[in-house]
């Protein structure tokens, strides 16, 4: 046949790869021409004399023993082993080797096929080098991350120790404050009206101040340690914000600031802890008072957005530099200039505020156009489930209805008078205030009120008498007179109407009710 294969010995001898046969220990039995030529030995020098593993460098030999031989033993063949072989001149020849194991006459014979792999090896070497570089970079990054984590852990541990320290500190500081308070109260009772009144007053104010600082510290510790419990219930923020403004009215007045209160017209209900939320508003207001130079304006706004209640406290104070806006809510962060101005404080007020707001599921942000340009703090709280904002029209209508109406408020209780005035200003009314009947008559003469709201228990003359006298003033007949008394029985009403009052209100005055009594603004 034309295509008959050459003799197998010729096939073996002239194969296009190096071929060898060895025993199980790798002792060379036969080698073809290419094998002899690559290795640099005559067949006589190889057969029965050299072992293939001995031609491997030591590292490759270990690999052969630990990887190739067990596989050969179990599976009968291995393929694509990449190792160097050393030739007679001790030159390294990169090789690709396949081995297959046969049984010949009960003896194990391994047949080796060797291929030169210089180019492939060089290429793969480059690949490996690149991979190693990539791995080294990855290791370096892992190491860096590891260190960062360790550092983070250290920081959190330090932070935790600080929190524990603050908790202990505030607790320990608080203990002696209670007996001091009791002792001071006793002293005030004993000597309060004597010469020591001023000393005791100073003592009293400073003790209150200290107690407040320690309380703040204690509460912020509770928050940072996750131990603050909220006593949640439906809370009307309108009333709460109003109350907070009332609490601080004297302080605001003492600093010569004007407080502009702008409240949503209807109750704004949130599910919250009334005491804590009041603390939030009071803290923000206190800050506004503290960081606003005398005679500033503070706006306190409560708005109802869909699903959200928004409380804004805006002042015309020292403002916040842009780079400090991010850290202003962190504990112990105070603006340096504030410290220089010796306003004191621990720098935890805002941290406390944020902690409380966040416990309520709300958020807080600070805005400022920069130093000297005032600050605005905005607290957002989720509305209570099922609560909605009242239609916005109501507020506008109610405000418009009373806008421009001139009202005289007469009450010897300064705070009460002030609050009423604030509320009426909110309705857009023009207000005047008097604390005695004499003063009321004097003011009314020039102010020409359309409405006069009179407290009955005045020091110099009772409200009934004052009403009669007001009626006698020019324009007094047209004046709407409203009596405010602590008693709401029919005989009390009757007495008011007999004295010439148009309406009678029972204290505390319901602002909504009051608003319905105000006449439409007189045109012109």
């Amino acid at each position: 046949m034309a295509g008959a294969l050459p003799d197998s010995r010729i096939l073996f001898e002239r194969a296009a790869c190096a071929l060898l046969a060895t025993d199980a220990n790798g002792l060379i039995l036969h080698a073809n021409g290419l094998a002899c030529s690559w290795l640099g030995y005559d067949l006589e020098e190889l057969a029965g004399k050299l072992r293939m593993p001995d031609l491997l460098p030591v590292g490759a030999r270990v690999f052969h023993h630990t990887h190739c031989l067990p596989i050969l033993q179990v599976q009968g063949s291995v393929a694509e082993i990449q190792v160097d072989l050393r030739n007679r001149r001790q030159e390294r020849l990169p090789m690709l080797i396949n081995i297959v194991r046969h049984q010949v006459d009960g003896q194990v014979v391994d047949q080796w096929a060797l291929f030169k792999a210089s180019d492939r090896r060089a290429y793969e070497h480059e690949l490996r080098t690149a991979r190693k570089a990539a791995e080294a970079a990855l290791d370096a990054r892992r190491e860096a991350e590891h260190q960062l984590q360790a550092l983070n852990a250290q920081l959190s541990a330090a932070d935790r120790r600080k929190d524990e320290f603050l908790a202990t500190l505030s607790h320990e500081l608080r203990n002696p404050l209670a007996p001091m308070r009791s002792a001071l109260d006793v002293l005030k009772l004993k000597f309060g009206r004597g010469a020591e009144e001023r000393l005791l007053g100073a003592f009293d104010r400073q003790l209150r101040h200290l107690t407040r600082l320690v309380d703040d510290l204690m509460e912020i510790s509770r928050i940072t340690q996750g131990r603050m419990q909220l006593r949640r219930a439906p809370v009307d923020l309108s009333a709460l914000v109003h109350g907070a403004a009332h609490d601080l009215a004297a302080t605001i007045e003492a600093a010569g600031h004007t407080l502009r209160l702008q409240l949503a017209p209807a109750p704004v209900m949130v599910d919250g802890d009334a005491t804590r939320l009041a603390q939030v508003v009071i803290n923000l207001l206190t800050n506004a008072v503290k960081y606003t130079p005398q005679g500033g304006t503070i706006d306190l706004v409560l708005a109802c957005e869909p699903g959200l209640a928004e409380i804004r406290v805006r002042d015309t104070g020292i403002g916040i530099p842009a780079d400090a806006l991010a850290t202003v809510f962190e504990m112990f962060s105070q603006l340096e200039p504030a410290l220089e101005r010796a306003r004191g404080g621990l720098g935890i007020g805002l941290a406390l505020v944020r902690g409380i707001v966040e416990l309520h599921g709300g958020s807080i942000r600070a805005d400022s156009a920069g130093p000297g340009r005032g600050s605005e703090f905005t607290v957002r709280l989720p509305l209570a489930e099922g609560a909605h904002c009242a239609p916005s029209g109501m507020a506008a209508d109610a405000g418009a209805a009373a806008a421009g109406v001139r009202i005289l408020v007469v009450d010897d209780n300064h705070d009460a008078a002030h609050m009423l005035v604030m509320a009426l200003q909110l309705f857009g009314c023009d207000t005047a205030v008097a604390h005695t009947a004499d003063m009321a008559l004097e003011v009314a003469d020039t102010f020409r009120p359309e409405v006069a709201l009179l407290d009955i228990g005045l020091p110099d003359m009772n409200g009934y008498e004052l009403a009669r006298r007001l009626r006698l003033l020019p324009g007094g007949v047209a004046m709407t007179l409203i009596a405010a008394t602590g008693w709401g029985q029919d005989k009390d009403r009757q007495r008011a109407f007999d004295a010439g009052f148009d309406h009678h209100l029972t204290k505390p005055i319901d602002l909504d009710q009051l608003r319905t009594l105000l006449p439409q603004a007189t045109p012109g």
Binding site: A24, N25, G26, R51, P53, P57, V58, G59, A60, R61, V62, F63, H65, T66, H67, C68, L69, P70, I71, Q73, V74, Q75, G76, S77, V78, A79, E80, I81, Q82, V83, N98, V100, R101, H102, Q103, R121, E124, L127, R128
Partner: protein, 267 residues
Amino acid sequence: MSVKLRHNVRVTGTGPATMVFAHGFGCDQTMWRFLAPVYEGRFRTITYDLAGSGSSDRAAYDRERHASLHGHADDLLEILDAFADGPVVFVGHSVSTMIGLLATVKAPARFAAQVMVGPSPCYINDGGYVGGFTREDIDELLETMDANYLGWSSSLAPVIMGAPNQPFLRAELTDSFCRNDPDIAKHFARVTFLSDHRADVPHSTVPALILQCSDDLIAPRTVGDYLHRHLPVSTLAVIENVGHCPHMSAPTESSRAIDAFLADTLR
């Protein structure tokens, strides 16, 4: 994860005592397929894969725990706690001989005897001590592993199906034998070949058989002699064999030497 799954522990055989086989560097418990069955009639036999090898849980290979052979020794003790009651006969190959030795030092009561197949307490030459290797040799081994693991999914695989030894192998064995994760294998190679446990040797009081091959590149005769001198209770048996795996290439001679040793030791 259970110890069983973590180390792919297999328990076969029946007998009053337990024999535990731990494979050497490079492969997995399949290495014991020629020797372990010899003992199944007389012992409960346990084979397992070292952490990072064979079908062990790769996730359980912890580069810190397994940064030294002590981690592997702790693994072994956990396996004994889970699977063996009384003292066991431990059979280790290559690196596992030192893993076993460390375990006998930690918990001597757990062992009745230790069989060390091709042991070496230190591979690198050190002054008068001849371990057989230099640091450069070990680097070269790592290089070779690198080169051969480059396409590790195909390299080392049997190209020619139906090779004479093949038919009795199950298919999944052919697919998985010695296919170790390249990164773990290199880490383990470093841990193995750079380890030096010569100082631990005198503290292992459990009777030891040193099963030494006459011609073993990885554990030369000098190392066998060294161990024989320094182990408190040891027998040295030399098997005529070229290579590092007498339990595979000379299972009959190996079991004969082990039997003789056990007959003496377990009396």
